[in-house]
């Protein structure tokens, strides 16, 4: 009798004690050198980008990595362990210094990394914005967790990145990544928008819902739930809550406020170099206020000299109807997930089919011939990413792992 009672009690107790797990990005804190550095010129940044061979860290990062500047981040994308490195850098006299962290995108491994380009290995010319007279070599070390980096790594430039006439959009799902991947910022938060470029993205997909009092906010699920929010009194559909209730009672998983769409767009325009935002409309009543915000923030971007596309996502026929019913739709660029006829009817600038429909090269070509772009969603596995890159020539991809898409795209 005792066993009958104790076993289920223990099992239930263990199940009920499952805690929340997060992985924070390690940093150098007071030991950081970045504050002492000066900013690099755009030409210097461009000359550091490229395909590098790896010596010393092959087990962690493979034999080849892609190095790319995205906004303020100098990132490496590896073909091994889905690893990426997000660094910030600058010049210190004739030496270039980079600091940040590495992470495996699909598990919890992370650590600090500090790299340098010495004056004699290209640093002197690069710090002056000139073409290096010697092959660029990046040397440094990486560590585990927040311990100081001690494992040596050497990266040698093999070739620069191919210059393509049209950009390729790597669009980070949920504004940068999902909570399930234990990123240091919550999904659909202002913080994750600001680190999305470090992960390899040049665009973000954000989910738009409407509060009870008509404020567009960014949040994925229909309901407030422990997967996405903290707050004991946050239960049920987010549409039941006013903006004031959300702000007072609920935070995102890592403690951030649930952002309004206006705050998210302001962050994209003013605090990042992201060039595209897919506004994934989860509540169709949001279309009209979103079109107004789209216009307002496109004007803001233009006023500060930023080139950024804000696209209204149309995921359903009823969303297309609402969009077409809005008198401003003609000047509100859209991205349509439906079939080609609906894309044409909405005159969407982007067709966005699910990857599960296959590469569909013929339809992709049709869209290209009409001057429309094609973004597939949501591709995460490197095998599938390669297939779609090679077989359907899309203009972009939505992904939970921008670093994997970046590696596969740039290493080709």
């Amino acid at each position: 009798m005792m066993k009958i009672l104790i076993i289920p009690l223990l099992a239930f107790a263990v199940l009920s004690c499952a805690g929340d797990l997060t992985v924070s990005a390690p940093d150098f804190g007071d030991n950081s050198l970045i504050a002492q550095t000066s900013a690099l010129s755009d030409s210097s940044k461009l000359r550091i980008e490229g395909i590098y061979s790896v010596e010393g860290g092959e087990a962690n990062f493979g034999r080849t990595v892609v190095a790319k500047w995205n906004g303020k981040f100098f990132s490496f994308f590896a073909g091994t362990n889905s690893a990426y490195v997000a660094l910030q850098g600058g010049r210190l006299d004739s030496t270039l210094v980079f600091e940040g962290y590495w992470r495996y995108a699909q598990d919890l491994n992370t650590g600090l990394m500090r790299l340098r380009i010495e004056a004699s290995e290209g640093g002197r010319e690069l710090s002056q914005g000139m073409i290096p007279s010697v092959p660029v070599v990046i040397r440094g070390s990486f560590g585990d967790g927040s311990s100081q980096p001690t494992n040596p790594i050497v990266l040698k430039l093999v070739r620069p990145l191919s210059q393509r006439s049209t950009p390729f959009w790597i669009i980070a799902h949920r504004a940068g990544g999902r909570n399930s991947d234990l990123l240091p910022e919550s999904e659909n938060s202002l913080g994750i928008i600001q680190i999305a470029e470090g992960l390899g993205a040049n665009g973000v997909e954000i989910d738009v819902r409407l509060t009870q009092d008509g404020i567009p906010v960014i949040y994925h699920d229909e309901n407030l739930n422990p997967r996405l929010v903290k707050g004991e009194f946050c239960i049920g559909p987010i549409a039941n809550y006013t903006y004031a209730h959300l702000r007072t009672l609920c935070t995102l998983k890592n403690g951030e406020q649930i952002p309004t769409l206006a705050e998210a767009l302001e962050t994209v325009v003013m605090k990042t170099s992201l060039s595209l935002v897919w506004l994934d409309i989860k509540a169709e009543d949001a279309i009209a206020p979103v079109i107004q915000l789209q216009r307002q923030y496109l004007q803001l971007a233009a006023s500060v000299g930023r080139s950024v596309e804000l696209l209204i996502g149309l995921p359903s026929l009823s969303a297309v109807e609402k969009y077409l019913a809005d008198s401003s739709h003609g000047t509100a660029p859209a991205i349509c997930e439906l079939d080609l006829a609906d894309v044409r009817r909405a005159n969407a600038v982007v067709w966005a089919p699910a990857w599960t429909l296959g590469p569909m090269l013929q339809k992709v070509t049709e869209m290209h011939n009409e001057g429309r772009r094609v973004f597939f969603w949501t591709l995460d596995g490197s095998e599938f990413i390669k297939v779609f890159l090679n077989q359907s020539m899309p203009d972009g991809m939505v992904t939970n792992y921008p670093s994997i898409v970046a590696y596969e795209y740039y290493v080709r």
Binding site: S16, N223, F233, H245
Partner: protein, 201 residues
């Protein structure tokens, strides 16, 4: 829901059922099966609170449960269970928020709808319940009140003792653990309970 309301609810539930059930009850040992009703009332306490808001925060409160059960006289039984499970409440005056200062009232409770399996030996009963909880919240900030709810999967485990007051009625106590797993809400309750047979065959 406050203690007074829970007491009234218990009285409303228990008294009529007792008065109706007693004449029909028998102690006929030739009958193998019976259906009965169990009513319980007590106090529920929220385990693992996640509240971070300042104010007068109360974990749990007075709870009431109603269980309709059928099965053999001896070991096993089955049933359905519902009731009222207060989870937590919060009140604060002049609470500082990013939008300004506000008075704040919030309460969270649940109505379980569970399928229950029962095991009995020597007047000790183990109940295991599986089903859904209608979790409901009401909150007032900046003078505006909202209500919201959702159905969440959860389960219940309880261990109770019942002392036969008469051939028909048993009185006992029960310790119960509810885990509304989908909403990560865990409650521990201690209840007094009354068991009344309705039919035997």
């Amino acid at each position: 829901m406050n203690t007074t309301f829970a007491s009234i609810l218990m009285a409303v539930l228990v008294v009529p059922v007792l008065s109706i059930a007693q004449p029909a009850a028998t102690s006929d040992t030739t009958k193998f099966f019976r259906a009965g009703i169990e009513m319980a009332g007590g106090y529920a306490y929220r385990l693992r609170s996640t509240n971070t808001l300042p104010g007068n925060y109360v974990r749990g409160g007075a709870t009431a449960r109603l269980r309709l059960k059928w099965g053999s006289h001896s070991v096993v039984g089955a049933g359905i269970e519902t009731g009222w499970l207060p989870i937590s409440s919060l009140s604060a005056t002049n609470s500082s928020t990013t939008l300004g200062t506000t008075d704040l009232e919030a309460s969270l409770n649940a109505v379980p709808v569970l399928f229950v399996a029962a095991f009995q030996r020597f007047n000790i009963q183990l109940h295991v319940g599986l089903g859904f909880y209608n979790v409901r919240v009401s909150s007032t900030v900046f003078g505006s009140t909202i209500r919201s709810s959702e159905w969440d999967f959860g389960y219940m485990l309880s261990l109770g003792y019942a002392y036969p007051l008469s051939p028909a009625v048993k009185l006992g106590a029960e310790v119960k653990w509810d885990n509304i797993s989908e909403a990560q809400i865990s409650m521990l309750s201690a209840c007094v309970r009354v068991m009344v047979p309705l039919w035997e065959w």
